[in-house]
Amino acid sequence: MEHVAQNLNLWWVLLVPLLPAAAFVVLLPMSRRVRNACRFVPIAAMVVALGLSIAAAVQVYPGSHIGEPFWQVAWQLATLGGHAVTISFAVDSLAVLMLVMVCIVGICVQIFSLFYMKDDDRRGWFFCVMALFLAAMLGFVLSGSLLVEFALWEIMGVCSYLLIGFWYRDEAPRKASQKAFLVTRTGDVGFFVALAAIYAACGSFEFEHIFATVANWSPALLMVSSIGLIWAAIGKSAQIPLSAWLPDAMAGPTPGSALIHAATMVVAGVFMLTRMLPVLTLNPLAMQIILVVGIITALYGAILACFQTDLKKVLAFSTISQLGYMVAAIGVGSATAAVFHLTTHAFFKALLFLTAGIIIHATHTQDMRQMGGLARRMPITTVVWTIGAFSLAGVLPLSGFFSKDEIFTVIWHSGQYWAFAGAAAVGVLTSLYVVKTWFTVFFGNSCNVNAHEGTATELVPVSILAALTLVCGFLTIPLARFLGHEGEWPSLTMAATSTAVMLCGAALGYTIYARQRSTERLKQIFNVVVSAADARFYLDWVYDTFFIRPYFWLSEALWKLDAVIIDGAVNGVAWLYRGLTRLINLLDARIIDGAVNGAAWLYRALTRGAQWFDSTVIDGIVNGLGTLSRAIGAALRRVQTGHLQRYQRLIVGAAVVIVAVLVLVLRFL
């Protein structure tokens, strides 16, 4: 270990990701029963992690610039081909902020899941995966080198696969999990290319080294690495054109969705771009691409959110749209705006997802058209949903207003007015679908007479998130300062503009949905948009036509080719083989006759010996060894249960124990 201490020793921050990881490792080899009973273990780990995160925040207050670590550590793992491979972690203000956010959201989701998943057979496993997911995200924000970041990025990919496909017995989650995994893997190719390019450019994966040398990189490598990183973020953060997986991912359990959408998976892409901003800013084209992708995605998500009838899908597309905002903010070079929106969004989107979970439990449907009039039956749920949704729309004192305003401001100041127009249009659409959802779900005709309020274990975490959504907006200045920026309150003009935008959409939504006007006429006017949106802007169609079907064609053609060649070969060699076997058969017949006579003689001799053996050898030995051995054998038999999963666990467990013992021996000998 070589410490590069900078006046603070924050080694204990490493415990933040290690604790939930340890919870995962401890629970992994347990039986299902034990895991189900030990759900408190991951929660306890996360609570301690939250405490440590807050302590870290207090320690490093008042913060510093992003990328200026207070403490970092590099551990040399090995030397590969003459180059040192190090695992390194760094604690900077951005990391600390993310730690606190992820821990809070994580704990809320975990507590919520206690009740939400209580009837599921594999709830223990659900908690296990969540713990690993959170551990990976927490480690991800702390990582000090791109290689570590990549490893944890991949772990998150696996976890999202596991969570989305949690109900793997149904077809939809299974397919959705595969889609999510494959689409994000497509993005990961970009990450890998970027890793290679960056290593080629500067011979290291350490952020410190990368940022120190980036000015001298060759333009080609700079370009390749930027594009690769952007492609990776596009996959992970579900941006256009790799956004298809996120809406399907709603097939998983709702708390899992909350985690993926608010605190972990999709946030990772934005976070990675924020981290790599010093590289990206040197490349104007890359920045422009980021901005364009962000704005288009924001529009795409917002338009589609308006057309969804599934409550969770509305939220999914709204996540895509909000991520577009963050990416756009990065595209104009403002890490602070992106991170601020990321934080507020994490709170209110987790809030919305968890509340949606309560509603789905109460109404037993995800279809908004079968809800309605819930305000009377579920007052607390209605209030917290309203807080979250209005924050999403950007209503004045709520946190979403402040963070969105900051994004509007930075985009305006960048001088890219088309982008600002796009962002404003997204604002209109956002409040439109928020209002639509609000009226359809909570007001109007009551469809669910049996709907009931959620339980305390569900409402408490939701209320915590609601409180944070209320408060967070007023932290604009301190948060910006913590990240090393002189933040300022939104200017009056900007506040007025965004409020006007919001009201615009809200009024539209109110006229249509509160009065329950027919939308047929509107749909006729915007015919093109509507039909395109119905097909999700043909994204799935494009994938199917240009990638999936050609692949099947190719494999079928290869298979046919194979069949033709093999059949030809078989017929060609047929006569050869026949001749050979005839020859052998002939030989066989000759040999066997001779052998028969010899064997008969042997038979006779051997039978005679049998009688002697019987009485002398066997009886003595069989009775010799006692029942003790039998008892031990019976005990061992109990381990041999025949369960494949248990064997796998035993094998992996034994391997882990052996490796662990060796590591310990190496340390202390």
Partner: protein
């Protein structure tokens, strides 16, 4: 050795080293042809006959060929020990093919093809001195074995066993490949000679441990043996007789080579191997005591025997391992042959009866010759002089003792004594138990025909008659005779063989 070599090489046609690969090459050809044998309008068992002949010729060729053949730039090196191991594998395979040809397995050609592929993989694996060649050869050895274990496609237990074998084996293959990739990253080469230059670092140790763990699992050494009993118990004795012997042979050679070439400077390798050895011996012995199924019993016996071999492998991994490396290699190969030949023999005898111990009841009345073969194989497994098992074990324990592992040798000796108890149950069943009821056998045979029938239906394209030909008792006799000859001759000649090899 040199005189024999010069005499034989002068008789053989001049060939460069590649001719040593005649046996695996021909076996792959046989496998290819027998896969399509149904289109050739030949008897189902003809393929097995061809394979047996090829294996026999290959064994002679391998035994008599030139020494120290270096192929593909030191990727395959056939020295005396590799040559002996390859010969042993081919002899075992020959016996197995003869049995298959004699008894028939239903779709015999497919069993032949699978076994031929596996054998060719094993013959390559014993000579591999390169990580990639080693991994590929090991996979080629074990993959056909998965299919063999699930050979009765319509019997659920067989498929379960095959799936367990497959999944657990894949899992542990992942360990191996992971370790191998790390070693490659560290050394910049996949060749053992370059890996030898590696210094001990946490990563290289981890890589090495992962490789060893994977090999432990392939050898079914504790605590990675879980797959073996279940996989074997699900399938028929004749598939087990192959899957439990030939692939294991390859694994033993590979682990010995790996230890020899990579272990220099790895102080912890020995303790890892000793842990595996003791765990295998103890767990295998006690688990075997309560088994009522021949296949399971022999699965655990395999665990124990691998434990003995690991003991000697550990001797060559010690600080003064270089002194013992040759004798360790030789004695483990010889013992491996002694143990696998006997195991295959027991299982082939059981193949005619059934998988449970109770199926053997009354064997001495029904098939006295087979019962006596069984007795000799079992005595060899126990280690009764003058059979191969005794001298093999003696050599193993003496080597381990000389290398300073007295405590472990004592454990091994105790385990050997205990092992006599469960091995004797085989003899007891065959000679002293009365068959419980006549129905048991007919039930079993009914079951067999029941799951042969859909196979035949599935192969309706096959032109041959669906009624299987009767078992040729002479052929079975020849197969058991080969194994018996190995058991007896290896016992008598173990001294000369070992001195010749060292």
């Amino acid at each position: 050795m040199s005189t024999i070599a010069t005499i034989t090489t002068s008789f053989l046609p001049p060939f460069n080293g590649y001719a040593v690969l005649v046996a695996p090459a021909l076996l792959i050809l046989v496998a290819f042809f027998s896969l399509f044998a149904d289109k050739l309008h030949v008897p189902d068992r003809a393929a097995a006959v061809v394979a047996a002949v090829v294996a026999a010729v290959g064994a002679c060729w391998m035994a008599l060929g030139a020494d120290n053949v270096i192929l593909f730039g030191y990727q395959l090196v056939y020295t005396g020990d590799a040559r002996f191991a390859a010969t042993a594998i081919l002899v075992l395979a020959c016996a197995w093919f003869v049995w298959t040809a004699a008894a028939g397995t239903g779709r015999t050609r497919e069993a032949t093809a699978l076994a031929a592929l596996s054998v060719s993989g094993a013959v390559l694996a014993v000579a591999a001195l390169d990580l990639i060649v080693m991994l590929l050869a090991l996979e080629l050895t074990s993959m056909p074995a998965y299919v063999l274990i699930g050979y009765r496609r319509y019997r659920i237990q067989g498929l379960e066993g095959a799936l367990k074998y497959f999944l657990l084996s894949v899992l542990t293959s992942l360990f191996m490949i992971y370790g191998a990739s790390m070693l490659f990253g560290l050394a910049g080469s996949t060749h053992f000679a370059e890996l030898r230059a590696l210094t001990q670092s946490p990563l290289s140790l981890l890589a090495f441990v992962l490789l060893i763990i994977g090999l432990f699992a392939k050898l079914s050494a504790a605590p990675f043996h879980w797959w073996a009993p279940d996989a074997y118990a699900g399938s028929e004795p004749w598939t087990v007789s192959f899957a439990a012997t030939v692939p294991k042979f390859a694994g033993i050679l590979v682990i010995v080579r790996l230890i020899q070439l990579v272990s220099t400077g790895f102080s912890l390798a020995q303790s890892l191997l000793l842990i595996g050895a003791v765990a295998s011996m103890v767990v295998g012995t006690f688990a075997a005591l309560t088994q009522s199924d021949t296949r399971r019993l022999l699965a655990y016996s395999g665990v124990v025997n691998v434990g003995y071999i690991l003991l000697v492998v550990a001797a060559s991994a010690g600080p003064d391992g270089a002194t013992y490396s040759t004798i360790a290699l030789v004695s483990s190969v010889v013992y491996a042959l002694a143990y696998t030949a006997a195991t295959m023999g027991v299982l082939l005898v059981a193949s005619g009866e059934g998988g449970r111990l109770s199926d053997l009841a009354g064997l001495s009345k029904r098939r006295p010759a087979a019962a006596w073969c069984l007795a000799l194989f079992v005595l060899s497994l126990i280690g009764v002089p003058p059979l191969a098992g005794f001298f093999g074990k003696l050599e193993l324990f003496m080597t381990a003792w000389a290398a300073g592992q007295q405590v472990f040798v004592v454990i091994a000796t105790v385990v050997t004594v205990v092992s006599a108890f469960y091995y004797m149950r085989l003899i007891k069943a065959a000679f002293f138990d009365e068959p419980e009821r006549q129905v048991a056998a007919s039930e079993d045979s009914a079951e067999d025909t029941a799951d042969v029938a859909p196979d035949v239906a599935a192969d309706s394209a096959a032109p041959e008659t669906p009624t299987p030909a009767p078992t040729s008792r002479v052929g079975v006799g020849v197969a058991l005779g080969i194994l018996l000859a190995v058991t007896l001759l290896l016992g008598v000649l173990s001294g000369p063989i070992i001195t010749w090899l060292t």
